[in-house]
Symmetry: C2
DNA sequence: TATACACCCTGTAGTCGCTATAGGGTCAAG
DNA sequence: CTTGACCCTATAGCGACTACAGGGTGTATA
């Protein structure tokens, strides 16, 4: 029946996840504890592999571990409304959107600062000047 | 002469930096240790305030503490060429640019995933489906 | 003078999502 | 019988703070 057990290294290779990370997910309640072999090795079922793939895809999409935990719980109760799923996904997208905007205005400032530097000595450097609040002298 | 000493709270209010963060900067060599009062309180000079402002502005622009440290060192030796300043600033801008691109393609995927959800039950949820690698049955 | 209160001190531990050791045990092949 | 790949636990580190715990200081007021 259970001849198809997978080692932690198998899961690692199958999902591109470091072995330590898989153990970390287990310790943090994202991946259920598998059974063990005689030699105390973790022996995973195919369901573990599915679950780990789910976690990794969600992580690749930038969901936090808390969000992944919530998504996993939701996906386990398949008769529920998916409204809660939608809330999590939209909240995450909004945050990504906000980060993009923040970084874009940051880049605008950086571009200006860098543009203003004419590569003289530090005393005249516009980059440094833009960081320093006021010249110390006078 | 030195009647204008500033307390750590003064620096905190003047720069919008938490007191603990100021002590953290000191411990990590970004802000030099100030003299102390009789009661062992930190007593800052105006130069400390300038330096802290510099740090904060650089942090606001997203420079890492290592980069800030380097910028501070460069700004202290005002006769140097500003080429090194330029290198740091451009490297940072490139990284910001890269992050924007990464987040934009991430957002594209999230938009697609969210768009595909028609708010039925979890069993049919396109968001969950896009995370799960394959249905367990069959 | 007591005491309340705001402020300061040190030191340590927590956050997030891993990653990297240290110091061992297991298992199959040669 | 030893090598080597794999596995185990436990702990500490990353970056950049933040949040205590458990005190001390300094001043205004009842
Ligand atoms: Zn330049
Ligand atoms: Zn310059
Ligand atoms: Zn929906
Ligand atoms: Zn849905």
């Amino acid at each position: 029946m259970s001849s198809a057990h997978l080692s932690i290294g198998d899961l690692s290779r199958a999902t591109g996840t470091k072995v330590e990370t898989i153990r970390f997910y287990e310790k943090n309640g994202l991946l259920p504890e598998p059974s063990r072999t005689q030699g105390n090795y973790r022996a995973y079922e195919p369901a573990h592999l599915s679950r780990l793939s789910f976690i990794r895809r969600a992580r690749d999409l930038g969901f936090s571990l808390d969000q992944v935990r919530a998504l996993l719980t939701l996906s386990d109760d398949r008769s529920q409304s998916c409204a809660a799923v939608d809330v999590i996904a939209r909240a995450h997208r909004d945050e990504v959107e906000r980060k993009i905007k923040d970084l874009q205005s940051l880049k605008t400032v950086l571009d200006q600062v860098i543009e203003s530097c004419h590569c003289n000595i530090v005393a005249d450097c516009a980059i440094i000047e833009s960081l320093a609040p006021a010249p110390q002298g006078s």
